[in-house]
Each structure stands twice: as structure tokens, then as C-alpha cells.
Amino acid sequence: MDIRRRRILQLLGLSAAALTVKPVYDALAADPGAARPKLGPGREQLRAKQWVMVIDTRRFASEADVEPLIEACHRIHNVPRFELKRWEIKWIWATEYKHAFSGTSSDRFLAAAVEKRPFLVLCNQCENPPCVRACPTQATFKREDGIVMMDFHRCIGCRFCMAACPFGARSFNYTDPRPYLKHTNKLFPTRMKGVVEKCSFCAERLAEGKRPACVEAAGGKIAFGDLYDPSSEAHQWIRKNYTLRRKVNLGTEPAVYYIV
């Protein structure tokens, strides 16, 4: 190669590098003295060390008992309904005992009542969540109050979290969900195609001092509270009753308890 040509290229490269200096300097030298706005939680924000849900399955006898809870959740969170099973999205749904507790409990015979009882399943908001470990962008992360949250702005749609979740709690937007919404809750966003979604223990309602929508719709059949607060209803239910959690053997520490 002609030595002068190489020299020119080197100079061009150096000048390009020099051009980047000023913006970087400006950014670092941003005015520190200006009056700063404050960011904080609302006054009604409910707090906990680890939110938990305790579902008293004895009080859910049939589909009719769980349907309103599912509907309440899916309605306020703008969860679409697809004809095509492949595209299905669900945050909370009901299944049989043998599916809810597959792997940990494969009893040949069950109490007849339990066998047919609908078991609500949803994101377990694990204390040690594998989905959070797997996510390459921290789009799914654990909040201080234990909620495993999705940042839809940051999700790249790699679906590693779906493979990591041992409870099948996550859904992916295989297409734009908006045309498939029958009703829209105007106060809550929808999602866009290409991101993963799941239950968030109604983080947006906790901020306003309200309990999760399904808990409210359950009318006392589900307790919600701080696992580590002995005075919370959820803690007391767990203390008073024999409870099960899904796949505890995996060490994810699910925060949804079932009284059977």
C-alpha cells in the first residue's frame, strides 16, 4: 500500500476520534447546580419485603368460581384473546391439580374433591427467580418488594425467560395484540408485538394502595400480604394451614401458596 494513503487514513481516523471528544466532555460537565426535581413513591403505596399470595383452593369448587378472577385480571391488564392457540397469552388461568403440581406430586389417587378442583396458576414471583437470571438485558428484574417485574421498553424478545420459567407463567406477543382486545382499559397500556409478558402482582394497583385485582375479585378466598410480616393475613394463613407451593424442589422459592 502507498505509504501516503495509509498516513491519510490514519489522520482521518484520528480526526474522527477527536470529534467525539466535545460531546463527551459536554455530557460529563452537565450543570450540577440546577434545581433538581424529586422522584418518589405515592402516599398510598403498599409496601412489603416479599409479597405473597395464599390461595384457599378449598373454596374454589368449579370453573364458575375462578372465571371472574381471571376475567378481572385479563380485563384490566388488556390481555388479548386469540382464536389461534399458538398465540395464546394468559397471566392467570385455572388448571387441574395434576398439572399445577406436575413433577412434585403425581399421586395415583387423590381426594375426589381435589382432583376436579380448579387450581389458579400464575407467575409465582419467585424469591429466587430463574427468569431474572436468564434475561440478558435486565428487562425482567426483581423489585425490592419481591415482585418480578417486566420492563416492556427494554425487552428484546429473546424468550430466554420463557425457557427459564419452570411454571410456564410467561407469554410472548407473537403479533400485535391490539386488534384482539375486546375491551380496552384506557388507564393501562397494552403491549406491542415481540415482547414477553406475565402477571406482575398488580404492581400498578399496589402503587395506589389497592390489592391485586384477582385478590379483590376473590372476595376473601385469597390472602395477599407480606410473607415476612407476622401480622399480615397471608402470613397467618400460611401459619395456620398446611400449604403447598409448586415445584419447591427447584429452589426458586415461589411466593404463591396453596391451601389444599
Partner: protein
């Protein structure tokens, strides 16, 4: 340099293509957009921060808001004058600026900016609540 002719021709064609928008629109100036404020917005006089700041940097504050609300769980923004706002694009910003088409879209279209906010955030929560 026996290929000089071809190199020059190639460069000219390249420049013509790259500069297409400039020579195609020469001599014409599209008037800058005029955004309309709703009565409610007019009555407020000032937005969350000063008008100049909002004009130039509203995307910065929206980015701060979404980061704070989603990731830190904080939802209340207190501006330097001490006024509180719930940090919500659909429910706070669009409460005043209910005329998205006349307000947001006008500038965005002019500048050919296509923010994907509206893929998820609902354009006007006031409608048909």
C-alpha cells in the same frame, strides 16, 4: 489511474442519490408546524417544566419517567416549583394534551420521528372511559 473516468462517474451518481432530498426539494420550504394547545393546557400556562425545556427535551423527561416508574416503582414527580405529578404518559401528559394529533403528531410528523410509545400506551385515555 486508468479507471479514472469510471470512478468519477460512480462518485457523481453516488452523490446524486445521496443528496436526492436536497436537490429534489430545492427552493421549497415547508412551514414549521404550529402545535395547538387544548383549553386545559392553555389555562395551565406551564407544563411540568418550562416551555423551552419541554419543547427541546420532553423525550428526556419521558425517558426518566418510564425508568423511574417501571424500574424503581416510584410514581410521583415533584418539579422544582414543588408541584406533584403522577408520572404517566397516557394519564398525565395526555390529560392536558388530549389532542395528540394536533400536538404530538404534528411535530413528530414534521421531523419524521416515529416514537413507538403509542404501540402500547393508549392515545387518549379520556375517551370512552
Amino acid at each position: 489511474m486508468k479507471d479514472k473516468r469510471w470512478i468519477v462517474t460512480g462518485l457523481v451518481v453516488f452523490l446524486l442519490i445521496v443528496l436526492f432530498p436536497f436537490w429534489y426539494n430545492r427552493g421549497r420550504a415547508v412551514p414549521p408546524p404550529e402545535v395547538k394547545l387544548t383549553e386545559k393546557a392553555k389555562a395551565e400556562k406551564e407544563c411540568v417544566l418550562s416551555r423551552d425545556y419541554m419543547k427541546a427535551e420532553h423525550m428526556q423527561i419521558l425517558d426518566l419517567w418510564r425508568e423511574t416508574v417501571v424500574r424503581e416503582g416510584n410514581r410521583i414527580y415533584t418539579n422544582p416549583k414543588g408541584r406533584e405529578f403522577v408520572m404517566s404518559l397516557s394519564n398525565t401528559c395526555l390529560d392536558c394534551h388530549a389532542n395528540k394529533a394536533e400536538f404530538c403528531d404534528k411535530c413528530h410528523n414534521y421531523a419524521s420521528v416515529r416514537p413507538y410509545c403509542w404501540d402500547c400506551h393508549i392515545e387518549n385515555p379520556k375517551e370512552a372511559r
